[in-house]
Amino acid sequence: MISQFFVLSQRGDNIVFRDYRRDVQKGSAEIFFRKVKFWKEDGKEEAPPVFNLDGVNYFHVKVVGLLFVATTRTNLAPSLALELLQRIARAIKDYLGVLSEESMRKNFVLVYELLDEVIDFGYVQTTSTEVLKSYVFNEPIVVDAARLPTLGPAALFMQGNKRMPGTAVTKSVVANDPGGRKREEIFVDIIEKISVTFSSSVSYSSISSACLCSFADTLDCYLLEAWSILKRLGVMLSNDDEQGYVLTSEIDGTIQMKSYLTGNPEIRLALNDDLHIGRGSVPSFGYSGSSGTGAVILDDCNFHESVHMDNFDIDRTLSLVPPDGEFPVMNYRITQEFKPPFTVNTLIEEAGSLKAEVILKIRAEFPSSITANTILIEMPLPTYTTRVNFDLDRGIVGQNADFKESQKKLEWNIKKIVGGSEHTLRAKLNFSQELHGNITKEAGPVSLTFTIPMYNPSRLQVKYLQIAKKGKTTNPYRWVRYVTQANSYVARI
């Protein structure tokens, strides 16, 4: 059972604090915050989401910079506590439209009201917005979503300058529009987070070090020569856009739904006809076959409890009566091979004893009708790097490169990348000491973060979205949106 629940701001202030069992001391919020903030002296390691301090177990999740915390003295199931915290955050967001410190502070009485119904004497009662609706009476005070930083969830769906009706996502489930009339609409978002690791783009480095270590003097000269040839060859190869192969790749997808429909009509979602669940005897992460057939093969998936799969085997449709609020209809996982949206080419070359040159090339491998947003490319540089001069492509606006000296890291920001285009960054590095050994072991790997709206590499589709009519003439708005985000997108060098 849960003893206390509280929400802390980034600075450690209590936004709400609810004690359910009175068996944990009052000052627990402060104790918790101090512990999390100074987990390790160097501040580099993050506190784990669960820890025990003097017999009290603290669970926490971070949501939009806020800390949602629960405490208990019992040996509770950690997944239950952490899932609960996440759900509480979601229920609050459903109510307030926007989850932020400001909206919570403005609506803290409403939040208390919610908390009273979510947990009673430490036991979870319900987290469903649908159920809570009948118990909660405060009206949310809506915070103006426009003032939010664009990194919020609404920004995910920006496509070029056209803005999807993203503001609706920040609409409270319970509050009415100013006109008093509720807009009938439903959002279905297919969100895919992709993880890709590319091997190093050229293979000479491994050969070279193997050679170096295991042979004695006599052979050395000859081998070193061979090595340098290989190396030159490697350089040529990489100039020829030789790409590292994909070591591992995974898609973690969610079909998320948010319904603003009145009367809870039944909904049918039809997915790809050639969708398969389970890779059968194919070993996970095997890359043989399957890619040519075009079928979408999910390794595994799970469903929201409202989903009925009666017809799934026949026509790949899911039927459900969506509860109010935002919820995942289905989570899925794919390790089937897919075409990575970006290829990265990295070349790092010595240029004199205290200098080196880095050439980063990034190519968008998706159709030109699609644009990726807020691309960030990062690359750790050798620790003895002192200065970096950048040479950016001319004529492209909205990009900048920077050397973060404290972290010895190169950062390259690009606002937008249109499908099919290629961008190059040249950087000249200056070192404070002479190079020893292999420079490729001192730098990298290159990692990317990005968002690509209206694109999903798995090709999973919502073919149609059917809303059972209830004698009304108005046709609700339906929004089906796709977005791809980088989870861990890494190219080794």
Binding site: L80, L212, D299, D300
Partner: protein, 840 residues
């Protein structure tokens, strides 16, 4: 009424100007109290909000209590709720003021609106004021019978709140039986779930003092009740499902058919998007199949995909919780996950605590077919800029090497690390190379060629430096420069801060001298001189020892300092298999995340409804040990004792041997003394090593071994005193004093075992035969009981330790008595009583 003007004075609720604010609020509230003007409620709302916002940030606003109560005479539900919240917060510390509220709460409990009835009832029960409990009984009774499910839901939890305030009031009002009725028939699933949680808590707390409560607690785990819950599974909310699944995981099915029925019924829960439900289901599956090796393995296969999906869906925090459980499973059965190793590759943006778990798993699943790829991946992490991660990765590579797969290639990789010339990499690698050489001396040539090239100046970390010095000494004959490097190190003796390094240096110089005397003589002289003068006692002593040894006889010195060594075959595991089993028993709890059994981090009273007395050794009922450390040790000793033989079959090392002995078939009650004695040997030989002296068992057992099995000749029928009594501390003392008169192995009726789900069932049964239980404990499948009986005439007493394995139906008896002559007779009596258990 005008909008609240005071809002201008305090623009931000987080920065109130102080007490003045509170008294302002007080006056304004007072003005509003009687007002019926339109719009009053809105103004009140604003003021109430202010009060609550002060309360949240920790300002004491209890002084406005009476004004708040006065103002809440309203039909506005929002206002009411705020008032309830306020009252709930302050009533406990202002019981007199709380009395003010009870009137309007009582009235609200009879309101027409079920919402208000429910809210008022919840608030009344949450006041936490002990002298108001009399006001709760009536409303709670009505609440449980209310026509509205919301009110019943609140009332079910309310009973539990009342119980914590005043257990006697709650029990006297007969609320638990009411809850039980409601639990078994209410239409609303949440009401049912709340009844279950309340009853679990109440009966668990009562069980230690009341037999009836213990019986009721057992009832929750009976077949009809468990099936009732299973059949209604889909009606429950996801959270209530978790509670029910936890209950089901404690249920012991009669046969495998039942197990399969339950698993089939629950299979679709594995597809649930809520990780808590999935893990609770997995716990049921794992625990039910524990004794069915094949099925158990299939369960692992079946749960793999859902677990991996959970790891990659949810937030990082949720995936950490799931990953911890996956980690546990991988550690138990690595071979099942060996083809999934790529899922355990680390992603660059993962927090360190996740990477650490993944590295552990990668190490565990490495086998002949995937080692190459895993090590290649680990090598990438070694080059990582993240230093802790690089270190952990090197350790992982080393661990894999020590597991003996493809050592050849790995040694090459390790040696490559040394060439990276990064200080932390070199340091970590040196330590590993040292361990590797201790296990695989045959690699010394390759390693030494590389290690010899490392300049000791580049190695600063004491552990690494010590490792390097050890190698310089151990392989002095193969390393050309060894004496000269050591000499250099000896010259810098004073600058070496670490005593560990200086100790190693002494020994290394010594070893080097024994092999290459002419080159090392000077260095040895310097080292011994410096060592004898060292301020560190250990260093000083060792130097002196070497000096005297050399003076006495060089060949003796050689035998002592540099004897021929055997390769280390297995490095000691950090965690005992008993500990691991214990953690596995507590699947889907914090124990898995902390990698510790729950008794190591929770207080006794918080160990959950079904974790009963752990501290058998101390029989803690009357005697609380004063020394916490000793207590912990005892508990641990007991764990080991209780868990003998719970290791899974696939883990055939360690105590697995005992496990097979336990479950060996064909022992029955009439086993000859010789046979059982032979078996007893096995156990008792272990006990001295697992039990620590404080428990005092070890010595008894040794004594017991020496005793003959005492086959006494046809003793007269034994009659026991039906009213025998002994207090636990006296029992404990007696148990320590007496030797084991008789120790026997027998079996128990499987039906009886089914009844064991409630620990109180057997004691009650035995009591019917005039044999009293003093203490009991353990977890499925091993239970331990201490019984006491007394002869009808005379004061002779019988003390019994009875260990029951519920999966193999085996029972171990140890009987101690003052009256040796009748011990056999008593044993027969005891066994006949035991054999009736379950069949009655």
């Amino acid at each position: 009424m005008a909008p609240p003007a005071q809002s201008h004075r305090s623009p931000s609720p987080s920065q109130p100007s102080g007490k003045g604010e509170v008294s302002d609020l007080k006056t304004q509230l007072r003005q509003l109290a009687g007002s019926r003007a339109p719009g009053t409620d809105d103004t009140k709302r604003e003021l109430f909000k202010k009060v609550i916002s002060y309360m949240t940030i920790g300002i004491d606003v209890s002084s406005v209590f009476s004004e708040m109560v006065m103002c809440s005479a309203t039909s506005d539900i929002v206002l009411k709720k705020m008032c309830y919240l306020y009252v709930g917060n302050y009533a406990k510390h202002n019981p007199d003021l709380a009395l003010l509220t009870i009137n309007f709460l009582q009235r609200d409990c009879k309101d027409e609106d079920p919402m208000i009835r429910g809210l008022a009832l919840r608030s009344s029960c949450s006041l936490g004021v002990a002298n108001l409990v009399e006001y709760l009984v009536g409303p709670l009774g009505n609440g449980l019978k209310d026509g509205n499910s919301y009110v019943r839901m609140v009332a079910a939890v309310g009973v539990l709140k009342l119980y914590h305030l005043s257990a006697s009031t709650c029990l006297d009002a007969d609320f638990p039986p009411l809850l039980k009725q409601l639990m078994l028939k209410d239409k609303d699933a949440q009401v049912v779930a709340n009844c279950l949680t309340s009853l679990q808590e109440i009966w668990s707390l009562e069980a230690s003092t009341s037999e009836e409560a213990a019986r009721e607690r057992e009832m929750l785990l009976s077949k009809p009740v468990v099936y009732y819950f299973l059949n209604r599974m889909k009606e429950f909310s996801e959270w209530a499902q978790c509670i029910v699944l936890e209950l089901v995981s404690k249920y012991v099915p009669v046969d495998s058919e039942e197990i399969f029925d339950i698993m089939n019924l629950l299979e679709d829960r594995l597809l649930h998007a809520n990780g808590a439900v999935v893990l609770a289901t997995i716990k049921v599956f794992l625990h039910m199949t524990l004794s069915m090796t094949d099925v158990h393995q299939q369960v692992y296969e079946r749960i793999k995909a859902p677990l991996l999906t959970l790891v990659s869906s949810g937030s990082p925090e949720q995936s950490y919780a799931v990953l911890s459980h996956l980690h546990l499973l991988v550690m138990r059965a690595p071979y099942i996950f060996s083809s999934d190793y790529k899922h355990f590759y680390c992603q660059y943006n993962e927090p360190f605590y996740v990477k650490k778990l993944k590295l552990d798993m990668l190490t565990a699943v490495a086998n002949e077919s995937n080692t190459y790829e895993i090590v290649t991946e680990l090598c990438e992490y070694v080059a990582n800029v993240d230093i802790p991660m690089a270190r952990e990765s090197i350790r992982a590579v080393g661990k894999i090497a020590l597991q003996q797969y493809d050592v050849n290639a790995i040694v090459d990789r390790l040696l490559q690390f040394l060439e990276m010339e990064k200080e932390h990499v070199t340091a970590e690698t040196l330590v590993l190379v040292k361990d590797l050489l201790r296990k695989y001396p045959q690699w010394s040539h390759d390693c030494i060629a590389v290690v010899g090239n490392i300049s000791s100046k580049n190695v600063q970390e004491p552990k690494a430096k010590a490792a390097l010095i050890w190698m310089l000494g151990e392989y002095a004959q193969d390393m050309q420069d060894s004496p000269y490097i050591l000499e250099g190190l000896v010259e810098n003796w004073d600058e070496e801060n670490s005593a560990e390094v200086r100790l190693h240096l002494l020994t290394a110089v010594m070893k080097c001298f024994l092999r290459r005397a002419p080159e090392t003589q000077k260095a040895l002289g310097d080292a011994l001189a410096a060592g004898v003068a060292d301020f560190n006692q250990d260093v000083h002593d060792r130097a002196l020892l070497y000096y005297r040894l050399l003076k006495y006889d060089v060949s003796v010195a050689e035998r002592i300092v540099n004897p021929p060594k055997q390769a280390v075959s297995v490095f000691a595991d950090t965690q005992s298999s008993e500990m691991k089993d214990r953690i596995f028993d507590e699947f889907n709890s914090l124990s898995v995340v902390y990698q510790k059994p729950s008794y190591m981090f929770t207080d006794k009273e918080h160990r959950g409804p079904f974790a009963f007395s752990e501290e058998l050794g101390t029989l803690s009922i009357g005697t609380e040990p004063s020394d916490g450390a000793v207590a912990a040790q005892r508990v641990e000793a007991n764990d080991k004792d209780l868990l003998l033989g719970t290791s899974e079959k696939e883990e055939s090392h360690g105590y697995g041997n005992n496990g097979s002995a336990y479950s060996a078939p064909s022992y029955d009650a009439s086993t000859t003394a010789g046979a059982s004695q032979g078996h007893f040997d096995l156990v008792s030989i272990d006990q001295p090593s697992t039990l620590h002296p404080p428990s005092g068992f070890a010595i008894d057992d040794l004594l017991g071994l020496g005793m003959p099995a005492a086959p006494s000749s046809a003793p007269p029928a034994l009659l026991l005193n039906a009213k025998a009594a002994i207090d636990p501390s006296a029992f404990q003392q007696k148990w320590r004093q007496l030797p084991v008169s008789l120790s026997q192995e027998t079996s128990i009726d499987p039906q009886g075992v089914a009844g064991m789900t409630n620990p109180q069932a057997l004691p009650q049964h035995m009591q019917g035969h005039s044999i009293n239980c003093i203490a009991s404990g353990g977890q499925a499948p091993n239970f331990k009981f201490f019984f006491f009986a007394q002869k009808a005439e005379g004061s002779f007493a019988y003390l019994v330790e009875c260990v029951i394995n519920s999966s193999s139906c085996k029972v171990q008896l140890k009987i101690k008595t003052d009256d040796q002559a009748t011990s056999q007779a008593f044993s027969e009596l005891f066994q006949s009583a035991l054999s009736k258990f379950g069949s009655a």
